[in-house]
């Protein structure tokens, strides 16, 4: 069984942004030599996420707008605010992006697909997105391919 980890740097250019990384995932699988198995995609950051949805711009806007409604950047007015609004000595600065962390939790930070005949098995409309909740930043996405090579699969 083969395991291969690929790290991809994704540069976001906006505060909130969905970036289609499907081709990176397919390339990592193709270059791995694995013909049957599994690929997982994970963001290395707690104010970003991984999502799978249809690859259309209108839906990208809706996803971001919905998550912003659920976990707004500005602390909700009224009965409670965000606790994550204070100085963080390990960062040398204040943390005040609780809403971005909460979006990451709500949207998820990982996805996975089966691999068959050396290719990612996904629905025709499914695209893999890296989702930036606190950009612009250079981010790291980890693509882990695991499974059998052609020899191991007996093909």
């Amino acid at each position: 069984m083969r395991f291969r980890l690929t790290r991809v740097e994704v540069q976001s250019c906006k505060d909130l942004e969905m970036i289609d990384i499907t081709e990176h995932v397919e390339a990592a699988v193709a270059s791995s030599g694995v013909v049957e198995g599994l690929v997982t995609v994970t963001t290395a950051h707690t104010s970003s996420g991984l999502l799978v949805t249809e690859g259309v711009e209108c839906l990208e806007r809706d996803v971001l707008a919905h998550l912003e409604r659920l976990a707004p950047k500005d602390p909700p007015a009224g009965s409670y605010g965000y606790w994550h609004n204070r100085y963080l000595d390990y960062d040398g600065r204040l943390g005040f992006n609780a809403g971005d962390h909460l979006k990451s939790i709500l949207g998820g930070m990982q996805c996975f697909f089966p691999i068959e005949s050396g290719k990612v098995v996904r629905g025709g409309r499914q695209r893999v997105y890296f989702v930036e909740y606190d950009g612009p930043l250079a981010r790291t996405v980890m693509i882990q391919v695991m499974g059998n090579t052609a020899v191991e699969a007996g093909a």
Binding site: C13, P75, Y90, A138
Partner: protein, 285 residues
């Protein structure tokens, strides 16, 4: 607001290209400046400006050689960084007590093309009104460059607040009326003192790069509408307030959004984000 706009107060501590060329900048970032965020390509910095709707940023070094054993960027490194993008405006640094300080500043402006001077009394451990610093002020006034002083509280462990009290800048403002002075961070927590100085001395400017609790929106709303009414800034100090973020301690986008939400008129916002910085820098280049 017209196109353009400047962030008058940024530290290029996380620019990855520079850290790769000059590995000592990693220690300067982590152990002297005390910033823990990951190093980023210059593209991230420029995208931050885009996200904030700004054209350029002043990038500042701090010569902490005497007090911390290293420079948090040298003048030469700032010039090298500015050569990578015409959106960056480089400031110089010097130990103001150094006998050669005026020559160093003249060289930084004349030969390296830097356009202002950054002094950090808390990290560099000097009082702004020490006579030993006066030759540097004479030099800066003669060159027509602005001096951006750290004022108010410092986050760095080991830095003393006493060096940042705004009253230590009064003699300088009075003795050098042609020196363009900018007190950073609204000199928080002494905001009213800093405002009093700016009201009295037209050569004193204040930058908005203040964030010491909560978040940019709530903090600036408190300091610039409760501690001091917004009308004071709008009516009396509109030509003495410049936008600064203190990036990367605060993202430029977040600080810009907070300043725009304060309730300034469009005319005043244009001065804060664009006009006043251009006047301090002697125009756009």
């Amino acid at each position: 607001m017209k196109a353009g706009g400047t962030d008058f107060h940024t530290h290029p501590m996380l620019v990855r290209e520079m850290v790769r060329r000059h590995p000592e900048l990693e220690d300067a970032a982590r152990k002297v400046f005390f910033i823990g965020n990951t190093f980023q390509p210059l593209e991230t910095f420029l995208s931050e400006l885009d996200a904030a709707g700004l054209e350029r940023a002043v990038v500042v070094p701090i010569d902490a050689t005497r007090t911390r054993g290293t420079a948090v960027y040298s003048n030469e490194q700032i010039a090298e960084l500015c050569a990578m993008s015409d959106r960056l405006v480089g400031f110089a640094t010097v130990d103001p007590r150094c006998a050669d300080a005026p020559k160093i500043v003249e060289n930084a402006v004349g030969k390296l093309g830097l356009r202002g001077l950054k002094l950090a009394p808390a990290m560099q451990e000097f009082y702004a009104d020490e006579q030993a610093c006066y030759p540097v002020y004479e030099c800066a006034a003669a060159l027509g460059i602005p001096v951006l002083f750290h004022a108010g509280m410092s986050w760095e462990p080991g830095s003393r607040l006493k060096y940042g009290h705004p009253m230590r800048f009064e003699d300088v403002a009075a003795d050098f009326p042609k020196l363009k002075m900018v007190l950073a961070h609204l000199a928080w927590p002494w905001v009213t003192d800093a405002v009093a100085l700016a009201l009295k001395y037209p050569n004193i400017h204040l930058d908005t790069s203040a964030l010491y609790f909560d978040n940019p929106h709530d903090f600036l709303r408190f300091t610039m509408t409760v501690q001091v009414p917004l009308t004071v800034f709008e009516r009396s100090l509109r030509k003495q307030i410049v936008f600064g973020s203190n990036y990367p301690r605060v993202e430029i986008k977040n600080m810009a959004r907070a300043v725009r939400a304060l309730g300034f008129s469009e005319e005043c916002l244009d001065l804060v984000f664009r006009g006043n910085a251009e006047a301090l820098l002697g125009g756009v280049r």
